[in-house]
């Protein structure tokens, strides 16, 4: 029963969605819409899945005074403070995007700099890898690096200053050879996705239940 019912649910919903794609007539048209709404609602709950284990593991760390427990305090405190600000904002304005609210204050001055800077680090990591690891050791890697160099120069204004044909060359690479290969790749990916979806609906593929 632990596997049969989920497999039946997957089969049923998958088939309904495929069939209603072709048959607009009632009651099928409405049935599809109802399932889509349900999907949207249920999917929202997955956002919460990580929260529990996050809180639990950090609380445990604090209780046990495990190494690095003060950072666990930071996690929990940040969580509770933001939750409080959010609940307050919601209760007073019913608007979590209200720019003057305490909740948006946390967003603007904490979430944004933290998240954005985390990704800005990557620029440095790329610079270091560019110097230390990106090597033209094979024909393939050489082609890749040469194309990358043309694109990197052609896609910024300084490229036109160096050679006025560079932006045009860059556009051409993007629109013809790179597009052609990407098309081949994405046709392959689409076929893989279709095969996978079919196997899932037919119950052949069950790794998602693990």
């Amino acid at each position: 029963m632990k596997k049969e019912i989920p497999l039946a649910i997957t089969f049923l919903t998958g088939v309904i969605i495929v069939v209603t794609f072709f048959i607009p007539h009632q009651p099928l048209g409405g049935m599809q819409q109802r399932l889509l709404i349900w999907y949207s609602i249920v999917l929202g709950f997955t956002l919460l899945l990580g929260v529990d284990s996050l809180l639990r593991s950090n609380l445990q760390k604090i209780m046990r005074r495990a190494p690095g427990w003060p950072y666990a305090v930071v996690v929990v405190a940040g969580f509770l403070a933001t939750l409080a600000a959010g609940i307050h904002t919601w209760a007073t304005t019913k608007d979590l995007l209200s720019l003057g609210s305490s909740f948006m204050y946390i967003y603007t001055y904490m979430i944004v700099p933290l998240q954005a800077t985390m990704f800005a680090l990557l620029a440095f990591f790329i610079a270091s890898a560019a110097y230390r690891a990106f090597r033209a050791r094979t024909l393939e890697a050489t082609l890749l690096l040469v194309t990358a160099a043309i694109v990197m120069l052609g896609r910024v204004p300084v490229g036109a200053e160096i050679w006025d044909k560079l932006p045009g060359l860059q556009d051409w690479i993007m629109e013809i050879p790179q597009m052609a290969a990407k098309r081949g790749i994405f046709i392959g990916v689409a076929l893989g996705t279709i095969a996978m979806s079919l196997r899932v609906i037919l119950g052949l593929e069950r790794t998602y239940l693990s």
């Binding site: 019912i5 989920p6 649910i9 997957t10 309904i16 969605i17 495929v18 794609f21 609602i41 249920v42 929202g44 709950f45 956002l47 919460l48 899945l49 929260v51 529990d52 996050l54 666990a72 930071v74 940040g78 969580f79 959010g86 919601w90 979590l96 001055y109 904490m110 933290l114 998240q115 954005a116 800077t117 985390m118 800005a120 990557l122 440095f124 790329i126 560019a130 082609l143 890749l144 194309t147 694109v151 896609r155 051409w172 690479i173 993007m174 013809i176 050879p177 790179q178 052609a180 290969a181 098309r183 081949g184 046709i187 392959g188 689409a190 279709i194 996978m196 979806s197 899932v200 609906i201």
Partner: protein
């Protein structure tokens, strides 16, 4: 005043994350953990404000957007599935979450089949059907075909297949080179964004 304090907080956090470049240190760890905690709270609040409240509570209890009583109460079904999703929090009944996962996986797979055919396969095939009246068209068709040959596994790579596959490899490398260049560009842009913030919003060095 609040704005100035906020900017200083933001600048402090930005520098704390950047300090990782020197080496891993407590400032970085503090900032990183703060991010984890704060964004977890966001997940809860947004689920409430943009999912549970408008899609479950309002229609069920206030009848907003629901045409009939049946429309209202049938929402108990997705609500139940949503709660089942959270059964993972309790190891003993954790297996119940599979029901909810099965629902989302089934719908996504159902949408995926026709979506990939209608959204990618057919239009991309149509886009490739061009008369070979220009060099660009020839290159494009050859590029698509040889890339497909490269990813064709049912035949040994000998003779014409080998040539096609090598050609495919060249196109693929050009494509990856282009992605490489664009990705580098993107990462630099993010750095520019952060340094702009430090120079402009925080230190007021630029006007």
């Amino acid at each position: 005043m609040m704005h100035i304090i906020g900017t200083w907080i933001a600048a402090g956090l930005t520098l704390a994350i950047f300090s990782f470049l020197y080496k891993d240190n407590p400032f970085y760890k503090f900032a990183e953990h703060l991010y984890v905690g704060v964004s977890a709270a966001f997940a809860i609040l947004y689920t409430w404000a943009f999912d549970v409240w408008p899609m479950l509570v309002e229609p069920m209890f206030y009848g907003r957007g629901a045409a009939s009583a049946a429309d209202r109460w049938i929402l108990l079904v997705p609500m139940l599935f949503g709660l089942l999703m959270l059964s993972r929090w309790f190891p003993k009944i954790g297996w119940l979450s599979r029901w909810a996962i099965a629902l989302t996986v089934g719908i996504a797979a159902g949408l995926g089949i026709t979506g990939q055919i209608q959204g990618i396969l057919l239009p991309q095939v149509a886009g490739t059907l061009v008369p070979l009246t220009s060099l660009d068209n020839v290159l494009m068709v050859v590029g698509v075909i040889s890339t497909l040959v490269y990813f064709y596994f049912s035949i040994a790579q000998k003779g014409a297949v080998k040539v096609g596959s090598r050609l495919g490899m060249i196109f693929i490398m050009v494509a990856f080179g282009a992605s490489f260049g664009y990705t580098v560009m993107a990462r630099i842009s993010l750095l520019i964004g952060r340094l702009y913030f430090l120079a402009y919003d925080w230190l007021h060095l630029v006007r």
